[in-house]
C-alpha cells in the first residue's frame, strides 16, 4: 500500500506523422475519446497503483500539457509524501546525441538520478504516452517480483498487420513461451509484414532501483536517451534477467493520423470501450464544468460517443463528439471526430473527417474523406458555408 514505484515518463515522442493535430501539442496531450488526452492513460495507471510521484520529460511544445496537468492533483500526484510532477526544460532533448551539450547532459541524467533517489521508491517505471492502454502497474510489479526479474517489460500479442509498416515499435521474443525469459528484441519494422502474431512491446518497463541506476550510468556513458526500450536493450546486452508481462486489454500504438483515427473508431466498439473504461481502474482526467448534453427533438444519434455540454439537433453516427460541440438541424455527421468547441451549421454532410478544436463550419458544407485518409482540419479553422471538400480535392 506504500508508494513503491517512481515513474519516469518520456514524453518527447515522435509527432510529425500526426500533424496538423500535433502542431501545437505533444503526442501526450492529443485529445482522445471525447474528454481525455493520451497522458490521462499512463497517469491513471499511476493513480490506480497509488504511485504518488512522477517525473515528466517534456519537449518545447509541452505547454498544452502543463495546462492540462497543472499540479497533478487530479491523479494524486501532488501528495506531499514524496510526490510531485517534475518538469525539465527539454528543448535540447531531441538533439541529445547530436550536439553533446556537456552541461545539459549532466543535468538531464542528474535529474533522473535525483528524482529516483528523492522518491525513496524501490522500483522505477519507464513509459511513454503513445501506447494507448489501461494497464495495471501493480500486476506488472507483482509479476516482476514473482519472477525475481531484473527488468520486466509489458507486451501484447497482436497481428503484425495491425501496425503500420514503418512503425517505430519493437517486437519482443522469448526463449520458450511468454512465461519465460525475454531473449531478444527487434525493430518491428524489420518483422515481415504479414498476418503473423507478434509480441508488441508497450514501452512500459519496470526494474529495481539498483538496476535502474546501473542502466542510467550506461546511458550516460553512451549519451543515450532514457527510455524503456533502450533500458531493455541494455539488459539483453548484459545478459540480465528480462521478463515480459503479457497485457491482454485494449492497446493501440498511436503513430500517425490513420492509427489515431482507427483508435477513435475502434473505441466505438463496445468491447474496446469497456476494456478501456469499464475496468475496475478508472481513467481520470481534468474535471470540467458544463451542462449535460442536450439532444434536440429530431436528433438521431447512433453508435456514437458524446461528451457532456454538447447540443445535437442533427444526425450523428459512428462518431465522437467532444465537449461543447454543436450539431445543427439537418446536418449529418458520420465516421468523424469532432473536437472541443467545434460548431457545425445546418444541412451539412461530414464523413471521415477530423475537426480539431474550435472550428466553425457554416451551413450546407460537404466534407468527405476516406477511412484510410480522413480529412483533417486544424484548430481554429473556419469552413465557410457552401464549401465542398472531398478527399483528393484541393483543401
Amino acid at each position: 500500500m506504500r508508494n513503491k514505484i517512481a515513474a519516469i515518463l518520456n514524453l518527447v515522442e515522435d509527432s510529425k506523422d500526426l500533424r496538423p493535430l500535433t502542431q501545437n501539442r505533444p503526442v501526450a496531450s492529443l485529445p482522445f475519446a471525447c474528454r481525455y488526452r493520451l497522458i490521462d492513460f499512463p497517469f491513471s495507471a499511476l493513480y490506480n497503483a497509488e504511485v504518488n510521484s512522477a517525473a515528466l520529460f517534456i519537449s518545447e511544445s509541452g505547454h498544452s500539457l502543463y495546462d492540462h496537468i497543472r499540479s497533478g492533483a487530479n491523479w494524486g500526484l501532488d501528495s506531499p509524501v514524496g510526490g510531485g510532477v517534475f518538469t525539465h526544460s527539454q528543448i535540447e532533448l531531441k538533439t541529445l546525441r547530436a550536439e553533446r551539450d556537456e552541461e545539459f547532459n549532466i543535468t538531464y541524467f542528474d535529474n533522473h538520478r535525483k528524482y529516483v533517489q528523492k522518491s525513496k521508491a524501490d522500483y522505477v517505471l519507464l513509459c511513454g504516452s503513445n501506447m494507448l492502454s489501461n494497464i495495471s502497474l501493480n500486476a506488472i510489479l507483482q509479476y516482476h517480483q514473482e519472477k525475481n526479474a531484473d527488468i520486466t517489460a509489458a507486451f501484447k500479442k497482436v497481428s503484425r498487420k495491425a501496425l503500420k509498416k514503418d512503425t517505430e515499435t519493437f517486437a519482443y521474443y522469448f526463449d520458450g513461451n511468454e512465461d519465460d525469459y525475454l531473449s531478444k528484441m527487434e525493430k518491428m519494422s524489420e518483422v515481415p509484414y504479414e498476418d503473423k502474431t507478434v509480441s508488441l512491446g508497450m514501452n512500459y518497463v519496470i526494474m529495481g532501483k539498483e538496476v535502474f541506476n546501473r542502466y542510467l550510468k550506461k546511458a550516460e556513458e553512451g549519451n543515450s536517451r532514457i527510455d524503456g526500450n533502450t533500458f531493455l536493450r541494455y539488459s539483453l546486452e548484459n545478459g540480465d534477467k528480462a521478463y515480459g508481462y503479457e497485457y491482454t486489454g485494449y492497446l493501440k500504438s498511436i503513430e500517425d493520423i490513420p492509427s489515431y483515427f482507427e483508435a477513435n473508431m475502434e473505441i466505438l466498439e463496445e468491447k474496446n470501450f469497456n476494456a478501456l473504461f469499464y475496468r475496475n481502474d478508472p481513467i481520470i482526467t481534468r474535471p470540467r464544468h458544463g451542462a449535460p448534453t442536450y439532444y434536440g427533438p429530431n436528433a438521431v444519434v447512433n453508435n456514437a460517443l458524446i461528451a457532456s455540454d454538447c447540443e445535437i439537433y442533427g444526425k450523428v453516427e459512428n462518431s465522437l463528439l467532444y465537449r461543447q460541440t454543436k450539431i445543427r438541424e439537418d446536418t449529418e455527421v458520420s465516421c468523424s471526430i469532432i473536437m472541443h468547441g467545434t460548431k457545425i451549421g445546418k444541412n451539412c454532410y461530414l464523413k471521415y473527417v477530423i475537426l480539431d478544436k474550435n472550428i466553425k463550419v457554416g451551413d450546407n458544407v460537404h466534407l468527405e474523406g476516406t477511412r484510410e485518409k480522413p480529412l483533417v482540419f486544424k484548430k481554429g479553422d473556419t469552413i465557410e458555408s457552401g464549401k465542398v471538400i472531398r478527399e483528393g480535392s484541393k483543401i
Partner: protein
C-alpha cells in the same frame, strides 16, 4: 481577517415532503438536472456573486452533503483562511450544541462568523433552484441603509396564502409580515434569503436567548422582533426563475422544465455557471439501437433503448427495447431490457430489471427510491 459579507447556507433541513428521496439524504443534497445537487445553485450563486467565504450548516443526514461540498473547490470556495466550511452540531463545555431552528443555527455558530468579522451576513437556504446575483441585493441593502433586507418573490395571488408574505410601503420597506395569510395584502413572498448587518443580528441573537422570547427561527421570531423594534427592514424583489423543489411533483416539474434548451435558467450561460462536484466518468455512449430525443444525457450513460423528454444523470444504463419518457433518472441507475418508465423519478443506484415498469401520471409521479430494485431477473441471470 475582515470580510465584507459572509454567506451562511442553511442546509440542515430534512425536506420530509420529498418522502423516500430524503430518507438518507438531506434535501440540499438531492440530485437535480442530471449533474447537480440542489445546493449547487446556492453555492454557485455565492461564487458568481463574489462571496468567497461561506458557512454551510448541516445537521440532518449530512454524509453525502458534506462530501459533496468538501473543501468547496468546485465552486472556487477554497481560499486561504476561508472558503467553504461545514458547520455541524458539536459539544462544548456548555453542553451539546444542536441547531433548533434557522436563527438558532446562526446563534450556535457565532464563533465561526466572528472569525471573519463581517459587516454583513447573507443567510440562504440550500433548497432552491435559481440564479441570483447577491451582490446586487447587497448594493440595494447598502443604498437603503437597511438593517435587514429580505429577498422576496412576486407570486400569483392564488398561491400567496401558502407563503410568508411581506407587506411593503412605497420605498420597499417592510411594514408587516404575514405568515400564510388567508387574505394576503401583497403577493411578495419571502424567499428565505436575508442580508443582515451582522453586529445587530448578533446582538438580537445573544440578548434574546436569555429572555422569554427564544430566537429560534428567522421567519417566526427574528423578523417579527425586528419589525416590532422598528428596525429598517427592506424587501428586495427578485423577478427571475425561482423554484422550490420541496415536493415530488415540484422536483419532477423543475427537472422537466430544465430540459428545455430555452429555459429561463439558461444553464449554458458561461457568465453565470452552475458548478458541481462531479465524478470522473467516460463519455456517454449511444449504441446502434439507442434513440434519444429532446433529452439531457450526462457522462457515463449507456443508451441502447429509447429516451424521450427525460434527464439521465451520470452512469445510467438503458437496455434494448426499454422506453424512458418524461422522467428524471438519477445517477448509477441500471435499466434492463424492455423496461417502461414514464412520468417518474428514479433514485440513485436503483435497478429496474427486464420488463419492469415504473409509470406515474400527472400529479402522481412515480418514485423509485435510492438503491431500490424492481422487475424480473437481471438480464445476465
Amino acid at each position: 481577517m475582515k470580510t465584507e459579507i459572509l454567506g451562511m447556507v442553511l442546509a440542515g433541513g430534512q425536506g420530509s415532503r420529498l418522502g423516500k428521496l430524503t430518507k438518507q439524504i438531506a434535501k440540499p443534497a438531492v440530485p437535480f438536472g442530471g449533474k447537480y445537487r440542489i445546493i449547487d445553485f446556492a453555492l454557485s450563486n455565492c461564487a458568481n456573486s463574489g462571496i468567497t467565504n461561506v458557512g454551510v450548516v448541516t445537521q440532518y443526514q449530512p454524509l453525502i452533503l458534506n462530501e459533496h461540498v468538501g473543501d468547496g473547490a468546485p465552486w472556487g470556495l477554497n481560499r486561504h483562511n476561508g472558503g467553504a466550511t461545514i458547520l455541524q452540531p458539536y459539544s462544548s463545555v456548555d453542553g451539546e450544541k444542536w441547531f433548533k431552528g434557522t436563527a438558532h443555527a446562526i446563534y450556535q455558530n457565532i464563533d465561526y462568523i466572528d472569525q471573519y468579522n463581517p459587516d454583513y451576513v447573507l443567510v440562504l437556504s440550500g433548497d432552491h433552484i435559481y440564479k441570483m446575483d447577491y451582490e446586487k441585493m447587497l448594493n440595494f441593502h447598502k443604498e437603503k441603509a437597511a438593517s435587514l433586507t429580505v429577498g422576496v418573490l412576486p407570486v400569483s395571488w392564488d398561491e400567496a396564502p401558502r407563503f410568508g408574505i411581506m407587506n411593503t410601503d412605497l420605498t420597499n420597506r417592510i411594514i408587516e409580515f404575514d405568515e400564510k395569510p388567508a387574505k394576503p395584502k401583497s403577493n411578495l413572498a419571502s424567499m428565505g434569503i436575508y442580508i443582515f448587518n451582522w453586529p445587530r443580528l448578533k446582538q438580537y441573537l445573544q440578548d434574546n436567548q436569555s429572555k422569554t422570547r427564544n430566537m429560534l427561527d428567522f421567519g417566526g421570531d427574528v423578523i417579527p422582533a425586528y419589525l416590532d423594534n422598528s428596525e429598517q427592514v427592506f424587501a428586495y424583489a427578485f423577478e427571475d426563475y425561482w423554484k422550490d423543489v420541496g415536493t415530488i411533483e415540484s422536483l419532477w416539474e423543475a427537472n422537466m422544465e430544465f430540459i428545455n434548451p430555452d429555459h429561463d435558467l439558461n444553464i449554458r450561460d458561461t457568465n453565470w455557471r452552475i458548478y458541481s462536484r462531479t465524478p470522473d466518468c467516460p463519455p456517454q455512449f449511444i449504441s446502434k439501437t439507442g434513440k434519444v430525443t429532446n433529452s439531457m444525457i450526462t457522462d457515463g450513460c449507456y443508451v441502447s433503448g429509447e429516451v424521450e423528454h427525460s434527464i439521465l444523470s451520470h452512469n445510467v444504463r438503458v437496455g434494448k427495447g426499454s422506453v424512458v419518457k418524461d422522467s428524471f433518472v438519477m445517477a448509477d441507475v441500471v435499466i434492463g431490457e424492455n423496461v417502461h418508465i414514464e412520468k417518474a423519478i428514479i433514485g440513485e443506484g436503483a435497478r429496474i430489471y427486464d420488463g419492469g415498469q415504473v409509470i406515474g401520471k400527472d400529479k402522481d409521479i412515480a418514485v423509485l427510491g435510492y438503491n431500490e430494485e424492481i422487475g424480473g431477473l437481471t438480464h445476465e441471470e
